[in-house]
């Protein structure tokens, strides 16, 4: 309580420039730096390979240019299928993640043992969906439902649940508690309170997250094709395997255009919806 810093009059104790570090903290920082440097070695970082790889890259680019347009109709169909997979998967994923996120949100479930158990299970399931990579989900679904876009759609749906489930739950946890308390005080049930006070307040975040999920899904749906889960990815793999670099370049540019368009539309949609009118 007593101020002891100014013991000697006339000489004020200014704080030191750098706060004195705990020796353990210092050791931890050094160890961290060493680990980062070691990681470069572990990652096979090599300047010589980078330098010698340069000409090969130029060679690839020169052989890939100009992109060919001969298979454009078929590729367009494949690209459309890729986006359709992404869209359908995201929609299913978002719809399924809402109830799951509601169960996972702390403070939304009843404060009983059962309520806590349900919350913990929901959080574990979401974490599991999120931590297993989408490519692995695609492999699993190719085995279970066969080759084709349906497997890719399911993989995206599961990946979206992992992504949206977490962020939906976090945004519902961050909602201001006041309106919910007001409705509880007015005699509203728990479910009424969630749908009237919590979800509307979390809606901007839901929309933003869903649009990010769609962008993410569009990017991953390209890769999923590589393991036979539908879409344009398989075309890219075939073109590369046959050294048809001009075709590969066409496909890469098409993917680039698609992702760019989805991202642009996503940010426009976000802005418009968030400023939208009330209901």
């Amino acid at each position: 309580m007593v101020e002891t810093s100014q013991t000697r009059p006339g000489r004020r104790s200014i704080p030191t420039r750098l706060e004195r570090q705990n020796p353990l903290t210092f050791v931890a920082y050094v160890a961290l730096l060493a680990f980062v440097l070691w990681s470069f070695q572990g990652a096979g970082w090599s300047f010589s390979a980078l330098v010698s790889g340069g000409p090969s890259m130029v060679d690839f680019l020169s052989r890939a240019w100009p992109p060919t347009t001969e298979r454009l109709p078929q590729l367009s169909t494949a690209l459309l299928e890729t986006f359709q997979m992404a869209l359908a998967g995201t929609v299913i994923g978002v719809i399924l993640s809402i109830p799951l996120a509601m169960m996972a949100t702390k403070g939304l479930t009843r404060p009983t043992v059962l309520g806590r158990a349900v919350g913990a299970c929901a959080r574990l399931l979401i974490a599991f969906f999120r931590t297993v990579p989408d490519l692995v989900w695609a492999l699993v679904f190719v085995i279970s439902v066969g080759l084709g876009p349906f497997a890719g759609t399911l993989a995206i749906a599961v990946d979206t649940i992992g992504f949206c489930g977490r962020f939906f739950a976090e945004s519902m946890e961050d909602v201001e508690k006041g309106p919910g308390e007001a409705l509880t005080a007015a005699g509203a049930s728990r479910l009424d309170t969630i749908f009237c006070a919590i979800i509307p307040a979390a809606m901007p975040s839901f929309i933003t997250t869903s649009l990010f999920a769609l962008e993410k899904a569009t990017r991953s749906s390209v890769v999923l094709g590589l393991v036979g889960a539908g879409g344009i990815g398989i075309e890219l793999k075939v073109a590369m395997d046959f050294f048809d670099y001009q075709l590969a370049m066409t496909i890469i540019l098409m993917i680039f255009a698609l992702v760019l368009v989805v991202e642009r539309l996503g940010s426009i949609a976000r802005r418009n919806i968030l400023e939208g009118n009330s209901q």
């Binding site: 006041g178 309106p179 308390e181 007001a182 409705l183 509880t184 005080a185 007015a186 005699g187 509203a188 049930s189 479910l191 009424d192 749908f195 009237c196 006070a197 509307p200 307040a201 809606m203 901007p204 009118n277 009330s278 209901q279």
Partner: protein, 270 residues
């Protein structure tokens, strides 16, 4: 030990017997409420007071005196450690969930920070006032509600003078308008009693006056019992039949307003 520390230097509590209206039907009776929070700070050490039907009571006390906690315990929005709150003849701690919702729906609770749902219209916020009576999707938005409910909600907005803002988003209303929408939401409950926790503390003096006048009219014209907390001594005296003052988690004054002067009340902020 906490209790002792909080009450040192305070003379024996001057608790007057409940108001002359006490033989009448009691809407709210609080007996021996105690509540402390995790920090081990006792907020309410022993709070007892009651409110008769159609009575207007002001609850005063400095910051941290336990006013808000007392109101929340009275509605069982906060679970008291001990003591009981009897609302319209029902002891709340023993009430089942459904019964509790029914009792709560008879009390319109108005908060300092209006607590409207943002991003939805004023009308939807008023429609929400009916959720205690009719749960479910038709009460979630004015867009899903039946004609009767929409008309009644609109009438409540008219009652607070905001029918022209019915479709405006709640987060685009001014502070005074928001608080009036919150009152309309409370009116939608067709309450027997209104409980207001520092309803004008975040409003400018003019808007605050309007809101207090509105409460006064509702209490006097429609016979709604009123319990409000305030830091404004003038409001406490002008708009209540009786003043209850809390200090250190205890009731230290319970007196008819007509017998009190502002200096009597200022003492609680000293």
């Amino acid at each position: 030990m906490q209790t002792a520390a909080l009450t040192t230097g305070v003379q024996a509590p001057v608790v007057h017997p409940p108001s002359p209206a006490s033989p009448a039907k009691l809407d709210l009776a609080i007996r021996g409420l105690c509540k402390s929070f995790e920090t081990n700070r006792a907020v309410l050490t022993d709070v007892s007071f009651s409110i008769a039907n159609k009575e207007a009571v002001a609850l005063i006390g400095s910051n941290g005196a336990g006013k808000s906690t007392a109101l929340r315990c009275a509605m069982r929005l906060v679970e008291p450690d001990s003591g009981e709150a009897v609302l319209f003849g029902t002891e709340l701690r023993s009430a089942k969930a459904r019964q509790l919702r029914k009792i709560r729906s008879d009390v319109g609770f108005v908060f300092q920070k209006h607590n409207l749902v943002p991003r939805v219209s004023a009308l939807t916020n008023v429609v929400h006032g009916n959720l205690g009576r009719a749960s479910g999707i038709r009460g979630w938005s004015q867009a899903f509600s039946g004609r009767h409910i929409r008309e009644r909600a609109y009438a409540c907005l008219e009652r607070v003078g905001l029918s022209r803002q019915a479709m405006k988003r709640a987060d685009q209303l001014s502070g005074g308008q928001s608080q009036r929408v919150a009152i309309a939401r409370a009116l939608m409950q067709q309450p027997k009693m209104i409980v207001a926790d520092e309803p004008v503390a975040s409003l400018d003096p003019v808007a605050g006056q309007e809101v207090m006048d509105l409460f006064h009219h509702l209490a006097k014209e429609e016979g709604i019992t009123l319990l409000f907390t305030t830091h404004n001594v003038a409001h406490a005296l002008a708009y209540s039949d009786r003043v209850v003052a809390l200090r250190g988690g205890k009731v230290e004054l319970d007196q008819t307003s007509a017998l009190l002067s502002s200096s009597d009340l200022n003492e609680f902020y000293g």
